[in-house]
């Protein structure tokens, strides 16, 4: 899931300043789960924009707006309502915004597409409806087989591969005393599994070329470049 948080309303109002008619597009995928961009939040923002004197031409929330197929299927039938707007605002991740822009371009519309959320990372829901946590950086070179299924690249503030730094204390991270030290978690997990000897292996520096942006996934070929 892509985690999102709402931008401050003032920032949204500033983004749509000068546009009288607005189409509001949400996302019934990740943003719905984050309670930032489902249909409820679309209606909420639309009401707030109306209070600012804006005219709302569209309130929709496609299922996974980041998927061009869903975006096309959902937005093509409402092309006229999009065309009637001066700007589109998307309550979705940065991907949803850009797929919405692509869809409007495919529909032959040249219209500003704005973002109402901040994307804050690849998040895993650890407490349903309450807390999601970043646990994977999509580094393209997964080492979870070596670390007991706990990712130091993401869960260690310094992304250390060969053990903890000197700042770890009482099992907590120097950056945030409420955050577990990833390497103590890994050590305890490996000890429980009886695989501590695996931690003695030298882990070479990561190949960050596998994270060079923008990456493209060729699905049929099963490769990322």
């Amino acid at each position: 899931m892509i985690g999102t948080t709402k931008k401050p309303l003032e920032e949204i109002f500033q983004a749509v300043d000068g546009y009288a008619k607005i189409a509001v597009v949400g996302c019934d995928g990740c943003a719905k789960v984050c309670m930032t961009g489902g249909l409820d939040q679309v209606h909420e923002l639309a009401a707030q924009l109306k209070e600012q004197g804006k005219e709302i031409t569209l309130e929709v929330s496609p299922e996974r707006t980041c998927n061009i197929m869903h975006a096309r299927n959902f937005l093509t039938p409402v092309k006229d309502q999009i065309a009637a707007a001066d700007a589109v605002i998307v309550l979705g991740c940065g991907g949803a915004v850009q797929i919405t822009r692509q869809t409007t371009e495919e529909l032959g519309l040249t219209i500003p597409v704005k973002v109402g959320l901040d994307s804050v990372g690849h998040m895993d829901m650890v407490i349903p409806g309450v807390m999601a946590m970043e646990q994977c950086q999509e580094c393209g070179q997964c080492i979870l087989n070596e670390t007991g299924g706990i990712c130091p690249v993401t869960k260690c503030a310094k992304s250390l591969l060969n053990g903890p730094c000197g700042g770890s204390e009482n099992g907590k991270c120097e950056v945030d005393p409420n955050r577990d030290c990833a390497w103590v978690l890994i050590y305890n997990r490996m000890a429980a599994l009886g695989e501590l000897e695996r931690l003695q292996r030298y882990m070479a520096p990561k190949d960050y070329s596998k994270m060079s942006k923008p990456r493209v996934l060729y699905i049929k070929e099963g490769r990322c470049a």
Binding site: K158, S159, L160, N162, G166, G167, S168, V184
Partner: protein, 300 residues
Amino acid sequence: MKLTELFQKKTFVITGEVGPVKGCSRLNGGPPPDYIQEALNIKDHVHAVNVTDNQGAAMRLGALAASVLTKQFGLEPIFQITCRDRNRLAIQSDLLAACTLGIDNVLCLTGDHIKIGDHKSAKPVFDIDSVQMLKIAAGLNAGQDMMGNQLSQATNLALGAAANPNFEPLDLQIIKMEKKVAAGCEFFQTQPVYEPRKFEMFMKKVERLGVPVMFGMVVIKSPGMATFINENVTGITVPEAWTNQMAGVPKADYKKKATAMTIELLKEIAPMCQGIHFMPFGWSDIIPEVLDAIRPYFPQ
């Protein structure tokens, strides 16, 4: 001079520490800056001084420039280099630069996180970690960069690393130390420990690594400093008993008391290790007295 040469001669090695300032240190014919002056006060009592690298993740004069300046004033610097602010190109480049400029010793560190420093919105680098840096530095000493490319001239640096005897679980710290030694670490400097038995247990576990260990000594100057360390500095714990001893004397006697307590601690510690690394934080003037008192306890 490389510290490793001293260890090979079974010398009990004494080092101090210099913290570069937030500011330029161009001399313009004037006296040495204060941080160099503090090191000069102990010049005849230490073999070398660490030069810290943006310590506490606070932006300061670069450690390499300050190391060179330290050397120009006749002290042997140990250039501390962290992974926080440099990617793998910059680390290798700075190690080549260090050797080129006459530096013989480096301490390869992870580095404090950006978030505890004074530029909290900066991008932390941490492209590689301290174990990987040691392996890369050993490669440069062998004449190759980390990609296997031949260097026109190899470096000749003594490679040090940090260790924390306070770490829990200690065995995880030992695993990391083993990796550092396998990567090329030739000496360790530890975080301070104020309980001799704890250090003894640590030394028993690391003895088999066969690498010299220097005990890190932060002189506690006041009960307030102890409280500050316990609340703000991770990886170091000042026991209540230590703080209480300090609190039991008038403020005017703190220095005398701290000197006496440091001597008593180091009398027990010195026989267990191969050197002492002093971090006196402004009280370098007590080091000569401390050394005179503990010299009979140095291992032969």
